[in-house]
Point group: C2
Chain length 190, copies 2
DNA sequence: TAAGTTAGATTTAGATCTAAATTGAGGTCT
DNA sequence: AGACCTCAATTTAGATCTAAATCTAACTTA
């Protein structure tokens, strides 16, 4: 249950949407503040919030949550034998190792995955999709992705592509700056 | 403590970054799946995660969390008398009314805001920034916004502006589709 | 005015996450 | 061999959020 908002137009120049109003308000209240990032960062933040909230609602009807779908999708996408180590899962999911342990434990409790020590000399743990887990992904992934396409359909294909291109550049920069390399999708992350 | 990731190149065509690999993996595993949204949605999701994680780290050093800064910033930005109703706060923060109650209760415990019933016939509650809350915002907002500018500085000014423009369009569409109107910033939301 | 309704804020229950502490298998050094 | 060390996974502690239940003041209506 998320809130919505209304914003009265604000400062001097053209205030074209509520995010512009935020920048305008800062300029008015603290003229020395640099608001150059707001138009990009706040909109990314809000879009992610909306996408995430919407996905939660879509998935609630299917009886699964985003974190679990993220886990199952990562395994499904990896192809047969649908098995990854917990480390590989953590790398792709952008969450801590502790969160992965908990996600796997939950999914295991629901019989969506199994967990076993890797053969050989490693301490790794292998997580494998069960038939039930596989079925659940097949039933839900397309729902989630079609809903996303619906949410994007106000953009022309050209706009969508230039947006994707700019985001790719930015994400690459940011990951480099954070000394990270992140990924995942359908799980937002799927 | 978030995880990073590495991705081996994948499918047939040009796989240019880890997000492309996700789309390529879906095309390989489920050719009927529509992956058109992934290049936009997943990148937005990951960027929001990185921005959020980074902000958390920046703010931890200053002894404040993103949710509290979001609250204080919204009040600060609104200008004198730095007072808003809880409803106004919820509208701008994109979180539930319950979350706002809890945020305000925490901030009140730390003497960063005060809370009192609105005069007149309404049931509204007025939340007002204290001097300590005002000081804390002044000390931290610029830190947060400069850090964001740093994270964006791989883009040229033109790229940043077209990105902001495309995001504005998309956010407008999405809010309309969700029958919402959302906002906030410096709080990611600030 | 009394009963019932509405609307906004708060509280509660339950889930999830991060960061830190712990565990335990393997490997190393002497 | 025995004592350490290292690394990955797990567990724990604590924080926060959503959704739903509750509370209560302000209205409505007969």
């Amino acid at each position: 249950m998320e809130m919505s908002q209304q914003q009265a137009p604000e400062g001097a120049e053209s205030v074209r949407d509520p995010v512009d109003s935020i920048a305008a308000a800062w300029r008015r209240e603290r003229p020395q503040t640099s608001v150059a990032s707001i138009g990009v960062v706040t909109r990314i933040w809000q879009l992610a919030k909306h996408f995430g909230d919407d996905r939660r609602r879509v998935l609630a009807e299917a009886g699964i949550d985003s974190a679990t779908l993220d886990l199952l999708s990562t395994l499904r996408r990896s192809g047969p034998p649908y098995t990854l180590t917990t480390r590989e899962l953590a790398e792709q999911s952008l969450v801590t190792a502790g969160a992965i342990s908990q996600r796997v434990a939950r999914a295991e409790r629901e019989r969506l995955v199994t967990r076993r020590p890797a053969p050989g000399r490693s301490r790794a743990v292998l997580v494998e999709l069960t038939a039930a887990g596989h079925d659940l992904v097949e039933r839900t992934v397309d729902q989630v992705l079609s809903r996303e396409i619906e949410l994007l359909d106000g953009l022309t294909a050209e706009q969508r592509d230039s947006l994707a291109e700019l985001l790719r550049t930015l994400l690459g920069d940011v990951q480099e700056k954070l000394n990270l390399q992140g990924v995942s999708h359908v799980g937002h992350g799927a």
